[in-house]
Amino acid sequence: MHKTPSASNRKSCPYCFIIPPHILQRLATSGDPALATTAGRTLRLTQSLAAFRAQLSTGALSPAAARRTGLKRQVFDCQGSSDLPGDLIRSEGGSPSRDKAVNEAYDNAGTTWDFYNKIFGRESVDDHGKALVSSVHYGEDYDNAFWDTRQMVYGDGDRVLFQRFTSALDVVAHELTHGVTQFTAQLAYQDQQGALNESMSDVFGSMVKQWALGQTVDEADWLIGAAIMAPGFQGRALRDMANPGTAYDDQRLGKDPQPGHMRDYVQTDSDNGGVHINSGIPNRAFVLAAKAIGGKSWDTAGKIWYHTLTERLTGTADFAKCATETVSVARDLFPQDATIAAKVAKAWADVGVLEETSPAAALANVSSVYVIAPRLREVAAAVALPAKKKKPSPKKAAAKSSRRAPKKKFRSSGGR
């Protein structure tokens, strides 16, 4: 059992390096070759991320990271090893490889870049034209894909349960969205913050797929990872954003553990506090909001969530913070249509994060109608969430001061 990092640690450390560098250093020089390699890699990552954080805190980008425009992709091949990035196989504009995984990683990264650029005007994950780097054929029968703070990494799957992770656009867009979150809200990868981090990746992962297919919210399947499951898998996908907990019930993998409501919030030490489990709650809130609004998800609900992620949330944001901010953003972005904010608030109420206080809800006056649900306050207290008050970075403070003073919309007594 380990204790949750303290609030003060979290506040100053959006990416908590819980393994102290001295232990990594010891493992790296322990004489065990396997440990030495992996600990060394973690140390290098830690150091590079420390530099990245220093850069964020000064608000200055290094000259090398000066704004560049246009899509730049690189795909590397690890050839079954776990050394990153591997050998460079395809660069931007290069001809297709004979290797399907290389082309899938290249094409799906391109589609994701286009989505963020055309819909939100974003220039890559950092909004400064960072090259999208992918490594394929990572590890042996490696059944995973991850974002390592600098690049995407894809395994081939074990071909028994999982197929190539590059083959699904929603998986690639999920990983790249972790990059967007890293450069914006910096949601900690633990507990509710981590579940929000995961949810943002699923929300935009599904949205990119819907955009590529031209689907409306009613045509969308809202599934995550449907394309990477091997034949014989008993289920529809790894996650069902519209119906969390129902994606699969498989002899070998067990049953989908995701909750879709705060009353079923899962307290666990596994998976960094269940970040891939409790993401079902904010995932369902997004689907409910998007369906209530109708049309294409990226036109309205997607814009609200994107603005919330990139402008309003910080590393310690919990579900309640995300709920109140999305309602506030809905009002700010769509002031001519108060029903949009009302629909967003109702979605969060339907998953138990906000609570409807009056059945005679006046749509135009959402503020008096929803408060943070008591159940959420209990959960927040149980997992010892950090205090909500935090110091905005100078950059964010400047951005915020240019907006009109935010009205108090909800009782924000959650987590105390």
Binding site: I18, T38, T42, A145, W147, D148, P257, H276
Partner: protein, 86 residues
């Protein structure tokens, strides 16, 4: 007298759990395990980035049960394979 390895997280978020008789470990594997368990401040699971695996390792022996949680990057491949039943 067994070693239990539970893997959680990853993109799929699916828990895999397997175990192995401690006597079946190679001497160098036992030594590596001892080094991990002996670390003065047990390393914990969080690591930068997202969607990597987290491993919980339990050693059941005459001394009781000792456990630690490790990020994927610190788990040797033979240990990771136990979670997948090999």
């Amino acid at each position: 007298m067994k070693l239990v390895v539970e893997r959680s997280g990853g993109f799929a978020g699916i828990v895999r759990r397997g175990e192995k008789d401690l006597a079946a470990l190679l001497p160098e594997q036992r030594a590596a395990l001892q080094r991990l368990l002996a670390a003065d401040a047990p390393p914990k699971a969080a690591q930068p980035g997202a969607d990597q695996f987290t491993f919980r390792i339990e050693v059941h022996d005459e001394g009781g049960v000792r456990s630690l949680t490790l990020p994927e990057s610190l788990v040797p491949s033979w240990l990771a394979a136990i979670a997948k039943g090999s």
